[in-house]
Amino acid sequence: MTDVLFYVFGGLALACAFMTVANPFSRSPVASALFLVLTMVWLAGLFVLLHAFFIAAVQILVYAGAVMVLFLFVIMLLDLKEEERRHWNRFGVGAGFITVGGLLAVLATTIVRSHAGAGLTPELEGTTHALGLALFQRYLLPFEAVSVLLLVGMLGVILLSRRDLK
């Protein structure tokens, strides 16, 4: 059952990711954004399969909810049209595909050859309780640091969105 679900979620995530970056039917950023939201959802599904329930929830809340809404807001705000194809850079596209293909090949070969999962069984339960304990004990300092980072991010955004920015 979980294996089937894995293939379903994994396949859908890959498909939606493909549609995000290389939608053959539309160049609209809105479409890309929506497919990305779908990718996030399927990813959350995969997280659930990995028993990382908290992360899955956060994934939905933060990514699919907050981040992607932000994206859509910006798209609306800027009133972005469909990406017009100014010129078809064959060399660029070819090189891009080759590079990405190469990367994929390297990664896949490494994964397959390394037998990373040999002898390992899925055991860990990513309970919110355990996560919370770790977060507020061992990872307290990074946690606080991240909160400062968010604050700085906020300040940065406020500064950047000022009208008179030169």
Partner: protein, 643 residues
């Protein structure tokens, strides 16, 4: 007081005077002169006291007193700031301070009114300090130190009127020419030290006496190198070119430095380090072609050539100071030749008497120049006998002494040199020719410049100089006449530790002393007198009738022009320097500018720049290109690392 204490005082006085004038009294001309004259007078008195107390100690010949403090002591090189007192340095002390005193006094009159009066006396004091340092130095390094200081004070004094381009150029030329000699001198000192491990004269002398082979293959080379120092300072051929130009300095300077004392330092140094030249000839392998020639041969021939060449040049000069300058050159050649003939005491003897009469001649010339408002051309003078009587008579005394007419002091010292040269027939003949030429050009000078009728308005309105300038003339004239009877030669022999130093001590009375040379070395004495007579006769024939122009060029033709133009040494040297040093400098500069800084440095910079420009094309500014390049690079890197 102990002689050592007195020696320190003598050395310190002029230095204090120079420092005091420079730092404190330079705004007050009169006070500065007073300080300087007082210092040198005190040094003279101290020298007299020193000599008296030294004689009281009855130190045997060849021994000496040494006072020293350590100046430098580094791994086997120990240099004392040492003062060496023996008869040799005593004679020089008296000579230097005595003549120096006369010239200081004279300068008070001669330089009166010059805006840089104080600077003149400060430089003069500095010179006295350095010169006394040379005289008293107990080792080679100290001598070299003061040697250089003498060079620099000479530079300052020749270039005293530095606004005049000629004076500034002459000062530079003198210093540089001297430096070439010093180059050899320093290397000679180093070579001696490297073999014997000491630079002290006494230690060196003893070491070489114990083992004459101690210097090994460097024996003659070291001698010749050290002699190069004397060559520069005493203006010997081929480094003689600076001395005539040095006459651009004030006349008292010419008298003190470039006639009486500094230029004689070379001879003094040769006498001081004579033990070095006596060694049997030995050359390093690379200079094997010189084998058989000893250092003394080189010295003797250099001296001989210089004296003849300078005498010939003097014949056709028309500047009164230049005639005297060439005469100085010629006499220095004499002295050097005497040293080269293994008779340093003869050279030193002539040095002392020459100091008196040449200083006298220069000061006399200065008096004439002063009277004629800085006219130096003898063909614009004449008829000065009645107008400048003191100058005339003292000048005549100096001339007679220089020509070697008995019983003037020059006769005795010159006779010693001629006697020394008897062993080398060619040099002896050469010396006789020089004696004849000397008389000729000196009487040419006297007959043209001082006697006869005035040729110029200035000459006919000349007035005798102030007495502050005349008294030194009188004193020096007395010294020039009688210096032959003061036993200077005996003292020198004692100082040099010569055999027979005590044998001649008691010559029977004054008259015997006057005619001593005729008995001692009759050939030299008679031939010398004969040569003098010939010179006088020729001069009288040519110039006795007081011609308006020089009749000699017509008779001698191109030779006269060569003599007048100093055998074109200056031009030849200028050409040589242009072809060597200047050319090297130009090449070095060119290489520096275009090869090192240009091709390599700028080439490297240019190559970097071009590479940068080429790589800049990759940076399109397109974000995606960058992303692509980064990704591609990552892939390649991973590919290499992982697979």
């Amino acid at each position: 007081m102990q002689p050592e204490t007195l020696a320190w005082i003598i050395l310190a006085l002029p230095l204090l005077s120079a420092a005091g004038i420079t730092l404190f009294t330079r705004r007050n001309a009169g006070l500065s002169a007073a300080v300087s004259v007082t210092a040198v007078a005190a040094a003279f008195v101290a020298s007299v006291l020193l000599v008296l107390s030294y004689r009281g100690l009855h130190i045997p010949a060849g021994e000496c007193l040494i006072a020293s403090v350590n100046w430098l002591n580094v791994g086997g090189l120990s240099v004392e700031l040492g003062l060496r007192l023996d008869s040799l340095s005593n004679v020089m002390l008296l000579g230097v301070t005595g003549v120096g005193l006369m010239i200081h006094i004279y300068s008070c009159g001669y330089m009166a009114g010059d805006p840089s009066y104080a600077r003149f006396f400060a430089s003069l004091s500095l010179f006295m300090f350095s010169m006394l340092g040379i005289v008293l130095a107990s080792n080679f390094v100290m001598m070299f130190v003061f040697w250089e200081l003498v060079g620099v004070s000479s530079y300052l004094l020749i270039g005293f009127w530095f606004e005049r381009p000629a004076a500034a150029d002459a000062a530079k030329k003198a210093f540089l020419t001297n430096r070439i000699g010093d180059f050899g001198f320093l290397l000679g000192i180093i070579a001696v030290w490297a073999s014997l491990g000491t630079v002290d004269f006494l230690d060196l002398q003893r070491a070489l006496a114990a083992d004459p082979q101690a210097l090994g293959a460097f024996a003659s080379l070291a001698g010749v190198l050290v002699f190069m120092g004397a060559m520069g300072k005493s203006a010997q051929f081929p480094l003689h070119v600076w001395l005539p130009d040095a006459m651009e300095g004030p006349t008292p300077v010419s008298a003190l430095i470039h006639a009486a004392t500094m230029v004689a330092a070379g001879v003094y140094m040769l006498a001081r380090s004579f033990f070095l030249f006596e060694l049997a000839p030995a050359w390093p392998e690379s200079l094997g072609f010189l084998s058989g020639i000893s250092a003394l041969d080189v010295i003797a021939w250099t001296g001989g050539i210089t004296s003849l060449m300078a005498a010939l040049m003097a014949v056709q000069q028309s500047d009164i100071k230049r005639i005297l300058a060439y005469s100085t050159l010629s006499q220095l050649g004499y002295m050097v030749m005497a040293v080269g003939c293994a008779r340093p005491e003869a050279g030193m003897y002539h040095l002392v008497t020459h100091a008196f009469f040449k200083a006298l001649l220069f000061l006399g010339a200065g008096s004439v120049i002063h009277a004629l408002h800085h006219e130096q051309d003898i063909w614009k003078m004449g008829g000065l006998r009645s107008r400048l009587p003191v100058t005339y008579w003292t000048f005549l005394v100096g001339t007679l002494a220089l020509c070697g007419v008995p019983p003037f002091s020059g006769f005795y010292s010159k006779d010693g040199i001629l006697a020394a040269a008897e062993t080398r027939p060619v040099l002896f003949g050469l010396a006789l020719v020089v004696a004849a030429l000397t008389t000729f050009y000196m009487f040419r000078l006297v007959l043209v410049a001082l006697r006869g009728e005035p040729r110029d308005a200035a000459a006919s309105h000349a007035h005798e100089s102030p007495s502050v300038m005349l008294w030194p003339l009188r004193f020096l004239a007395i010294a020039s006449v009688f210096a032959g009877f003061w036993g200077i030669d005996t003292a020198l022999k004692r100082g040099l530790g010569m055999a027979g130093a005590s044998g001649h001590e008691d010559h029977g009375g004054f008259l015997a002393g006057v005619f001593e040379p005729f008995g001692h070395a009759p050939l030299a004495a008679f031939l010398g007198l004969f040569a003098t007579g010939i010179g006088f006769a020729v001069a009288w024939t040519l110039y006795g009738s007081h011609p308006v122009r020089d009749p000699l060029p017509e008779r001698l033709g191109p030779l006269a022009r060569w003599m007048r133009d100093k055998f074109y040494f200056d031009e030849a040297y200028a050409w040589l320097i242009r072809c060597t040093h200047d050319a090297l400098a130009a090449v070095a500069d060119w290489v520096d500018r275009w090869i090192v800084a240009g091709m390599f440095v700028r080439g490297l910079a240019g190559a970097t720049d071009v590479a940068g420009r080429a790589l800049r094309l990759v940076l399109t500014g397109n974000l995606q290109t960058y992303a692509f390049l980064a990704a591609a690079g990552m892939v390649v890197a991973l590919w290499i690392v992982v697979l």
